[in-house]
Amino acid sequence: MTYNRKRQIAAAVLVLVTAALVANEVRLLVTDPEYDWYLRIQRWIAAVCTMAIYTFLYRENPFYRAFEHVLLGGATGMGCAVIVRQQLIDKWFAPMVQGFRDWFTTGMTPEALSGVLLIVPGIVGLMWYFQYSKRWFWLSRITFCITLGAGVGLGFKDTFNQLLPQITETFKPLWVGARIEPGLSLLARVSLSFENIIFITGTISVLMYFFFVFERKHFVIKGPAQLGRWYLMVALGAFFGNTFMTRLSALIERVHFLVAEWLQWG
């Protein structure tokens, strides 16, 4: 099929689809007594955006590109607005101004001090912009080091607080005796013990898979590391299935919007 022929067919399909959509809208206008122009325009915009993005499944095209940039601009603008209103104004500027006001009216109370001190993170934050000055670049490193140091310090604390309970959770008996679970049948004990063995071998082998500086020559490391790989693959397969179902429900939601809310079929 020649290029021109393909374009003619695509144009014909486009005209037919547009005509069908217009006809559908006229149907709604005539039959729906509660036809809401404002709501319909909203749904049309949402539907066009959705379909524009879905055209990427066929190929990258100007229609997709236009809406990609619309979304990009919208998301960035929205992000800026959220940061300015919810962070800078609500959590920094307003409490700081209030702090200074209290200081000058009622004196330096603890509440006023906590507000006044907000000027420090403001100055430290502004110093980040010295990234763009060759002469004052070193000042941005102060912000950088404070941010990183605080992040690492908090992360370190969390890691150790979480590590110990995680370690102790893996302490499971290879045989579940009567002292641990009284009143269980032999079959239930065997079943619980088997479960524990699966769990323990998985934990140990996966941990050994992530050794980097020990050579995998000896079977004591090589064997468990290979077993750990299998465990990981099984776990990842389960994750894949689970997440795939979540993504499918997102697709169903979009299709439902297009069919039931936009076209109002059925």
Partner: protein, 255 residues
């Protein structure tokens, strides 16, 4: 306020000692063995293949803000950019976090300057802040990959659901793809769409693997010794529980 218990303090001191000791060893030139990681070894081939096809390279540092993960990504970016600069190839870097932009730019520029190729490619064409929003970032990366016909797509960092969108676009564009992520939930999607996938703690090893920096290599070795201690505790805990039918070690550690 929550205070550390005695076992936590002991472990903290022990782990810190391991890491510091290994860093010291590495600084004094001791050879530290690092096991082969196939996904990292193939990066040179990916850059080479993109060069042969005369298609640009994309290095995606993910959605990490100023964090350890970002530094791991950027150390690999430095390596990739130096390799690409040697071959006069551009490296495209989509950025999702505002703070990461300035740092990525610095690493990128330094690498080209170090190879004597400073000014060969424009920063604003190659490093672009896209969006902090996952949808917009994913879509924009996908569009960029298709438009520029990326030859090698290297995904190093943390990702959310946009991982699949980006990697699928790379797959459709016929790019050789290497993904390296600490985000466990996205690993299956990278496995099905990328040629090589490196995950979990291997991501943190990547920095040491490429830079051979004594601090990174030493801390990696130190962490392995820490894992060995954890492994020892687990085995001991299991044996004690099995033999005495009481979780004595857990009680002791959580005391």
């Amino acid at each position: 306020m929550e205070h550390a218990s005695a076992p936590v303090i002991i472990l903290f001191v022990l782990f810190a000692a391991f890491v510091l000791l290994q860093i010291q060893r590495a600084r004094h030139g001791a050879h530290i063995f690092l096991r082969r990681i196939a996904g990292l070894e193939v990066i040179d081939d990916a850059i080479g293949r993109a060069t042969e096809q005369d298609r640009p390279i994309m290095f995606n540092p993910g959605r990490d803000d100023l964090s350890v993960n970002l530094f791991c990504s950027l150390s690999v970016l430095g390596y990739v950019t130096r390799k690409a600069a040697k071959l006069n190839m551009p490296v495209n870097v989509p950025v999702s976090m505002p703070l990461a932009y300035a740092m990525a730019e610095e690493y990128w520029k330094d690498a080209y300057d170090a190879m004597g190729r400073g000014g060969m490619f424009a920063v604003e064409d190659n490093i672009r802040y896209l969006s902090g929003d996952q949808n917009a970032f994913g879509m924009s990366c996908a569009g960029w990959i298709k438009r520029e016909r990326i030859g090698a797509n290297l995904l190093f960092g943390s990702y959310g659901f946009e991982a699949m969108i980006i990697a699928e676009a790379g797959q459709q564009a016929g790019a050789i793809q290497v993904a390296c992520t600490p985000t466990f939930f996205q690993v299956p999607f990278f496995i099905v769409t990328c040629d090589y996938t490196v995950f979990g703690e291997e991501f943190y090893a990547a920095g040491a693997y490429f830079s051979h920096d004594p601090v990174l290599t030493g801390s990696l070795a130190g962490q392995d010794w820490c894992k060995l201690v954890v492994l020892g505790l687990i085995v001991a805990g299991i044996l004690v529980f099995t033999l005495t039918q009481q979780n004595l070690l857990a009680n002791l550690l959580l005391w």
